[in-house]
């Protein structure tokens, strides 16, 4: 057969032919993306001082010094603070969500005010306020010292976010579920507890898990109110050793410890969300 170029759609449209075919243009564009990437990597390899990086960020002797307290104490504290803050946030958030759905106006207003207030403030301000402001103002000591005040503050903030999530979950349960429950003689409260909430929480497991991830990271903000050595969580623990030895390796170690907790959780959320979207 004669190799004869077919008339392109551009020619058909009365436009001048291009020098490169569409597939050639695509290859050229893709190739230049790789070229730019290659240049950056090459430049980094030339410029980077690997000895300094290794010495300051990935120093094995200093990393070894952080063990085992990094895991047995700091990581454990981070997880403990997260779980307590989450429990406070969940219970208070559920209460706020139910208040927001209440037929009694003042309950709805209170809930709205709370949610807007704590979502609008920086978490670090709330932590400082609960940790220092409250004890100074009322002479009231929050139990369990600074970790107690800090986790309480984190829980108060988390409750505002979780209230909205829980409310959305409750409203996502079809109305017919409540009607069926009521038609069987269940009271409104019984229908809520036995029928609506179990289904609502199933729907909101992914966003609640995300909330846990945010809380894990936000426990680092507790540094602002200071810790006794035994109460240090990952960030403060890593920071303090870093400044002592004048080396960033402990911070890197703390960062890896955060990732060891958060990465599995974010993957879990992805799996749960995929499963939910499939079952819909």
């Amino acid at each position: 057969m004669v190799d004869q170029p077919a008339m392109s759609s551009r020619e058909a449209a009365g436009l001048p032919a291009r020098r490169l075919s569409p597939s050639q243009r695509t290859r050229l564009f893709r190739g230049s993306l790789y070229a730019v990437l290659g240049l950056f990597v090459a430049g980094f390899l030339v410029v980077a001082d690997f000895a300094a990086i290794q010495q300051n960020f990935l120093n094995p002797q200093i990393a070894a010094q952080t063990m085992p307290e990094l895991v047995t104490r700091a990581m454990r504290n981070t997880v403990t603070y997260t779980l307590i803050a989450f429990a406070i946030g969940l219970l208070l958030g559920l209460l706020l969500a139910l208040m927001k759905l209440s037929p009694v106006g003042p309950y709805r207003w209170l809930s709205n005010i709370y949610i807007e207030f704590f979502r609008g403030l920086p978490a670090i301000l709330t932590i400082f306020l609960v940790g220092f402001g409250v004890p100074i103002a009322f002479g009231f000591r929050i139990p369990f010292g600074t970790p107690g005040a800090g986790t309480l503050a984190l829980g108060l903030v988390a409750a505002a976010y979780m209230a909205e999530t829980i409310r959305a979950g409750i409203q996502a349960v079809p109305k017919g579920q409540v009607e069926a429950a009521r038609s069987l003689g269940m009271s409104q409260g019984r229908a809520m507890v036995s029928i609506v909430l179990p289904q609502a929480f199933r729907i909101i497991v992914p966003p609640l898990t995300n909330e846990v991830v945010l809380l894990i990271k936000d426990t680092s903000l507790l540094f602002i109110i200071g810790f006794q050595p035994v109460n240090k969580e990952l960030f403060v623990y890593g920071r303090d050793i870093s400044t002592d030895v004048f080396n960033a390796t402990p911070l890197i170690a703390a960062g890896l410890a955060y990732l060891a907790i958060t990465f599995p959780l974010t993957r879990l959320v992805a799996v749960l969300e995929r499963r939910q979207s499939r079952s819909r």
Binding site: Q177, R182, S183, L184, G185, S187, S194
Partner: protein, 255 residues
């Protein structure tokens, strides 16, 4: 009416459902405009009518899933519309079957059937399971006791929903277009169970588009249009010899 006024008060049986001068509005829209309607104990009454006629709203008012605007509704002589009525207790005696089944999605078939028995009637687990199994046998769903609703067909779901309502040992059953959400080939299995219930003497109020069912099973058919009861009669008379123009127009469309 031939009965009632002439009869001795003492011997008049209390109606299962007695709706008196019922009005219901949603905002400015008046959906029910003064309904008088009753179902005697053991009677099967089918309510038919075009969509938007208010028949489903009437049925939902009967167990007070909708609050009435005016009028009252007596359930076995008890006023369910009274602000002081123990609505939950009265509802427990009224089984209801929904168009969309409304099975509890987080519970197995067995748990769907026992949860209200346990929580409302305070039956023991053993007792509740026995009652549930008996009713699942009756609707032919005993082999699905451990299934979740998501894995049932529409017809199976509706039969389980009937078994759930029956497990409360209700005095009467309300059906809100029970076959309207079903694929045509699944309608028969649901109607069959309803027919069995009617034969056993269950008091039934059925909002339906199934004229065949109404003709064969109902003791009385009520035709509603535009928020009022236009005409009621025994099924043969009403369907074959409708008196009112609107009834004739509706039946000529659906038959």
């Amino acid at each position: 009416m031939s009965n009632g006024a002439a009869m001795d008060e003492q011997t008049t049986p209390v109606a299962a459902i007695d709706v008196q001068k019922l009005h219901k509005s949603f905002g400015d829209l008046e959906v029910l405009k003064g309904i008088d309607f009753h179902v005697a104990s053991g009677e099967v009454v089918c309510v038919i009518g075009p969509s938007g006629s208010g028949k489903s709203t009437l049925l939902r008012c009967v167990n007070r899933l909708e609050e009435v605007t005016a009028g009252r509704i007596m359930i076995e002589g008890e006023d369910i519309t009274d602000a002081d009525a123990d609505v939950d207790l009265i509802r427990a005696r009224i089984g209801m079957v929904f168009q969309q089944f409304n099975l509890f999605g987080h519970l197995t078939v067995m748990d769907n059937l026992i949860i209200a028995q346990r929580r409302v009637l305070k039956r023991t687990k053993k007792e509740a399971v026995e009652v549930a199994r008996r009713n699942l046998e009756k609707v032919g769903m005993i082999d699905k006791v451990d299934a979740y609703p998501a894995h049932l067909s529409g017809g199976q779901s509706q039969r389980v929903a009937m078994a759930r309502a029956l497990s409360m040992d209700p005095d009467m059953m309300l059906f809100d277009e029970p076959t309207s959400a079903l694929d045509p080939e699944l309608v028969g299995e649901v109607l069959q169970v309803m027919r069995t219930l009617a034969d056993e003497g269950m008091t039934m109020m059925v909002v339906t588009h199934e004229m065949g069912f109404a003709r064969e099973v109902a003791d009385r058919v009520v035709f509603m249009d535009d928020g009022v009861v236009v005409e009621e009669n025994n099924p043969l008379e009403l369907i074959n010899n409708p008196q009112h123009e609107r009834t004739q127009a509706f039946l000529s469309q659906v038959l």
